[in-house]
């Protein structure tokens, strides 16, 4: 059947994976992909396609701008819709969905006010690190002043970084669990070669993190250990694995990104976050300080000063003081917890400001070793890598003359503790013999040249 050249193919509606088209009065459904549309147009020997009030020539459509042709929502729509669906069990989300007007129920993400409400809900239900990254994605998507190309690049970059952080956090949880178990049970069978990259001197790629995740899950399962969360679907053809592969492919493309790439990245990120549901059932707690009180003839008690990072029911970063007789997990810990269990992610995830006595938290993610001299961390808020070096600070009784001196000493000692913790994790999981050392002092520092 030939189509009149003057009659473009009409896109009637766009669903997540499908396009509804009207061709010569006939309604067709094809996959929401450029290749599928091209095949259809070729078969109909036409060059133009119309969506809403705009007519596009297929010769001008490529992967980069395909998304803008087929969707009114350019940024955040797919991601937020998918995440809201994954959060359907939450009371606030249920209220949101129940209160949607029926005419908007299918396409609520196209209504700015509903999308905004949904974005707030998503931000409230994810652990702080991911919520902060999602907030960035929402902010980039909403920015009306930025040039489109710049916006696209930033958006895709943050889809990558959010996805990578999700995988990192998951691996931190599993590594921490394995470390603790190995300390308790000598007979665990581990494969150090599979764990070594995590303790290497370069940051892992997303694919490597995914591989590590698979290996860690296998190790725990093979040893009959309970996973800290419900086992995710890590099959190669599963949505999560495919999302990681597609994101990594997108990341390695050496082209100028377009809107279609944004859609791809957004959809992949949604797949990944939906595949790791424990990120919306837990929250992060930073233990800033633990004080010890003991009186004669009374059992001692601990004063735990901690902050819950997420804004949930109380909708604020809650600083709490808890007085109890149970010894704390650890000072300066960063806990990943729900109502039943808590996992200490220190030193892989840490609140650097807890180490330097600052009240506001600053979350950093472990990236890799900095040789044997220290560790490299990623500062989530500042979006930069920072190195922390082993100082071998003396923790014996010593005189301090000023408050600044005390602060500096405490900082050095605590940073050393973090590095020593990682050293212990390495020695436990990879086998003994790993040791961080202070960078050799130059001779002039010790008057060696005099």
């Amino acid at each position: 059947m030939m189509t009149n050249e003057n009659q473009p193919i009409l896109i009637q509606s766009v669903a997540e994976g499908m396009l509804n088209l009207q061709v010569d009065g006939e309604v067709l459904e094809i996959r929401n992909e450029l290749a599928a549309l091209r095949i259809l147009l070729e078969s109909r020997q036409t060059q133009t396609v119309q969506y809403a009030d705009k007519i596009y020539n297929i010769a001008h459509i490529d992967e980069a701008n395909f998304g803008s042709v087929t969707s009114k929502i350019v940024f955040n729509g797919i991601l937020v819709r998918r995440l809201i669906r994954a959060l359907e069990q939450k009371t606030g989300v249920q209220d949101f969905l129940r209160n949607l007007p029926s005419e908007s129920a299918d396409k609520w993400e196209e209504v700015p006010a509903f999308l905004q409400d949904a974005q707030v809900l998503v931000g409230q239900h994810f652990v702080w690190v991911l919520a902060w990254e999602l907030r960035r994605l929402f902010a980039i998507g909403k920015d009306k002043r930025k040039r489109q190309e710049e916006k696209v690049d930033e958006y895709i970059d943050h889809c990558f970084s959010t996805a990578k952080m999700a995988l990192q956090l998951t691996n931190f949880l599993l590594i921490a669990a394995l470390w603790d178990k190995k300390k308790q049970q000598e007979g665990l069978k581990l494969n150090p070669a599979q764990l070594e990259p995590f303790f290497g001197t370069r940051p892992l790629t997303m694919l490597e993190h995914h591989q590590l995740l698979t290996n860690l899950v296998d190790m725990l399962v093979d040893n009959g250990l309970e996973l800290p969360f419900e086992e995710p679907d890590l099959e190669a053809d599963g949505a999560l694995s495919k999302a990681v592969v597609r994101l990594e492919e997108l990341c390695s493309l050496n082209i100028a990104y377009g809107l279609a790439h944004c859609h791809t990245a957004e959809a992949c990120l949604a797949d990944l976050l939906v595949g790791l549901p424990f990120f919306n059932t837990h929250h992060l707690v930073t233990i800033k300080r633990v004080e010890y009180e003991a009186l004669r003839n009374n059992s001692p008690r601990y004063v735990k000063d901690f902050t819950i990072l997420e804004k949930k029911e109380a909708r604020e970063w809650q600083r709490m003081l808890k007085f109890d007789h149970d010894a704390p997990v650890q000072s300066y810990a960063l806990l990943f917890r729900n109502h039943q269990r808590a996992f200490n992610l220190f030193p892989f995830l840490m609140d650097y400001h807890a180490l330097i006595n600052e009240r506001v938290f600053q979350i950093q993610l472990y990236e890799c070793r900095e040789g044997w001299r220290g560790l490299r961390y990623y500062n989530v808020e500042q979006e930069c890598e920072q190195a922390m070096y082993y100082c071998d600070a003396n923790a014996e009784v010593m005189e301090v003359q000023t408050e600044d001196q005390k602060q500096a000493l405490e900082r050095d000692i605590r940073c050393d503790l973090a590095i020593k913790q990682l050293e212990d994790a390495m020695n436990t999981l990879l086998g003994p013999g790993h040791r961080f050392v202070k960078e050799a002092a130059r001779p002039s520092d010790h008057f060696g040249n005099i």
């Binding site: 905004q116 974005q119 707030v120 931000g123 907030r135 960035r136 929402f138 902010a139 980039i140 909403k142 920015d143 930025k146 930033e154 804004k311 109380a314 909708r315 604020e316 970063w317 400001h353 600052e358 009240r359 506001v360 600053q362 808020e381 500042q382 979006e383």
Partner: protein, 564 residues
Amino acid sequence: MRKRYPFPFLDAYERKDQDFFFGRDEEIEQLYQLTQQSNIVLLYGHSGTGKTSLIRCGLANKFRSYDWQDVYVRRGTHLIRSLDRALCEESDGAFDYEDGGDTIADLPQKLEAVYRATFKPLYLIFDQFEELYVLGSRDEQDAFVRIIQDILRREQPVKVILSIREEYLGHLYEFERAVPELLRKKLRVEPMNLERVKTVLLGVSNQPDSNVQLEAGHEAPIAEGIFEKIRGQDKTLHIPLPYLQVFLDKFYLEVTGDQSRQAEAIFTRPTLAAMGDLGDVLRNFLDEQATAISRAQGLPEAEVWRALSPFVTLEGTKEPLSEAQLTARLSDLPTGASARLLQALVQGRILRFSEASQLYEVAHDALAKQIHAKRSDEEIAILEVQRLVKSQTAMKAEAREYFTEKQLLFMEPYLEKLVLGEAEKDWIAESRVRVHHQKEEAQRRQEAELAATQKRLRLVRGLLALALVAVLVAGYLRVLANGQKAAAESATLVANERLLEALQEKAQRLEGEKAQLIRAQAVYQTAGDSILQRETLQTMTEKDSLIQLNAQNIRDAQARQKQQ
């Protein structure tokens, strides 16, 4: 590539000026880290050190655009209303501004709306915060502190940055008591020294976008020469930024003569040397502009200065005014003259107009200081009167005090030259009536006091007369008593002499009787009559006692005689 003029003159550097903003890297990093460590940060430094540029350009560019939603708030006519208006404007239509006085209705909801509009952490930046203490009332100051306390308790990521002139730090005492973390994270902005001036000029010169370059190979001497010319004879180690900016603009015009500032310029040593000794560049700039404007407007130069004066406080800081306020103050000028003057002053870059607040203000505090220095004693007196009237009438009726007679006398010669509101006029009139009543009351009280005093005087006189009579009587009686006393003493003397004679006779008699007894004793001894001997001895002992007693009486009588 189209080149740009790199100097902002008296304006602050903005986010877009990042390529031309040099010499502040260390302070930008420090300020950035402080904002990461606390939800409230204080930036302070002297006027002309570049505080505003440090935030608007340096800090703003340190953040990624998706992590930085800045809301700049200047006091305008009222800080809380300005903040409220700014939040409403940033709320993406969720709120329309309505004057709420000293409170902000629905503050949490407004903050939430601003956050939802962008999903970026919100930075509330209160620039030139000293205006709250120079121009604001106590109520306004207290209300602002309460609002900041509220904001810091909010759940949204909201941070507060306050920028204040160093000399007003002391005013923050009450604020710090209410918000103890206020001064915990603070940064002092250092003034420009030679090294920084070099960094700025070399940076600008090396920037490909810049249409100003320093003569190749002589960058450092030119930078040093500029620094030397600006500091002049003072030989200070620092120079204020407005002076540098005005100088660089002058230098550019000297080289290119291009008022549109499009032409490319190369700053050379000979051109710099040819500029000669410039004296105070800022004062010269103001004088030149005032002369040019007065010529163009056909007004005496004094009128230009008179128009500028209300824009500066008594302390020499900026005071924003609307066109209507200035027109009212210059009511003697022809219709439309004040509006034309304002336009000319804006074009001359002395004043700046804010679209948001619809207010005009002096382009920089450094200019305000120069304008203040130009004022006559009378102008200063008028401003003092104006401030006095405003400060009294700004208070709530129950707390307001009437002007005293002394204040009214000081104000009287200048009242005609002031444009006062009805409330102010009423308060002055009421004060006059009150002072009049007070004076009448005082006179009445004085007269009553005079009458009472006279009455008291008469009473005192009567009492005095009585006292005199009493004194005379007492004197007479005293004389009389003295006579009687003398007679008594004379009689006593005679009696004493007689007693002495009697005692001496008695002594002789007792001595004679004792001698007789001694003799009788001898006889009884010879006769061997022991009984008589014993009796005689006893009698002699008694005589001795009598003799001694008598001798004592004689001594007493002699002593009395001697005394008399």
